[in-house]
Amino acid sequence: MSEPDPGAPLLEQKLMFFGRISASLSHELKNVLATINEFSGLLDDLSQAAASGRALKPERLQSVCGKIANQIGRGEELIRRMNRFSHSVDEPVASVDLREVLALVCDLCNRFAKLRQATLERRFPDAPQVLTLDTFALEYAVALAIDLALQGASEQRRVTVALLEPASRGRCQIAVESADPLGPELAQATEHALLAGVMAHLGGTLDVAPERIVLGLGGLDA
């Protein structure tokens, strides 16, 4: 997979992000199908053994069927995420609850964190925080901030995506926090340049500190 270029038009960058997430989801779905395939094969093996006279315990079949049902549930959840993510490009600007957008991005980026042996946590306020903005650009920005926080991650790093309580004049802030200090080299990372560009597109601010990356957005909808 080629690296995005900070000089590329935002539309091109967004398309690459869409492709990256789609590829990740399809990889996870492939694992679900591969696992169901093995369970199906096992049921076939067990039925052949039973046909040749070996005792077959009903609870063995029930256990396999339960695991198949769990994998189907996992697949359904992946497809639900894929569907919500796909629909986030429906409108160039939409009124959204930031908690829902951030939860979706956390779900989508979980696999990237897991591949780096990191954990991705979330902390959102109870009340909705509704803002009108380019939803897909925000998803891209938060994913870039998570990527940045995961860079050079030590094993078992914990990264938290937090939606902060609105500060003065109802302006929103999203913090991507790291339990380990973020290195100063992050300022040179490609993701930093990409993130600065997206935040400028969103009319927001970017602040990268050793303990967290803060994305500042506009005021909440009335």
């Binding site: 093995e38 897991k114 591949l115």
Partner: protein, 124 residues
């Protein structure tokens, strides 16, 4: 039909353990682990005829496991499993010729067995 000692490595626990059970039904001796680090530990203490590794895993990727195994066991047959026809990143493209074969998920058990036999035969 079996007779081979096989190490299966995949971070999907239900996948790797079910695959192991199906191979055991066919009289293979199988160990199944869910990480590259656990695979390297097993290979230190046990002798295997063939190792089957998923390419994309947290921590050590399948490619990294294969490279580490090659240091001590340059002739141990390794079969790589991948989720996609097109490799997902550059690392997955790197040095695939170090592997005896690679198979795409979902795996057909008969094809896996045939491939394992071919790899072991070539190694002999």
């Amino acid at each position: 039909m079996g007779g081979m000692r096989v190490l299966l490595v995949d971070d999907e626990p239900e996948l790797v353990h079910t695959m192991a059970e199906r191979l055991e039904i066919r009289d293979f001796e199988v160990d199944a682990v869910t990480s590259g680090a656990a695979a390297l530990e097993k290979i230190k203490s046990e002798a295997y005829d063939v190792v089957v590794i998923d390419l994309k895993m947290p921590g050590m990727s399948g490619h990294a496991v294969m490279t580490a195994v090659r240091v001590e066991h340059p002739r141990l047959p390794i079969i790589l499993l991948t989720g996609h026809g097109a490799a997902e990143d550059d690392e997955e493209n790197a040095d695939l010729d170090q592997a005896c074969a690679y198979l795409f998920k979902p795996i057909n058990i008969d094809e896996l067995i045939r491939t394992m036999r071919e790899c072991v035969k070539v190694d002999e």
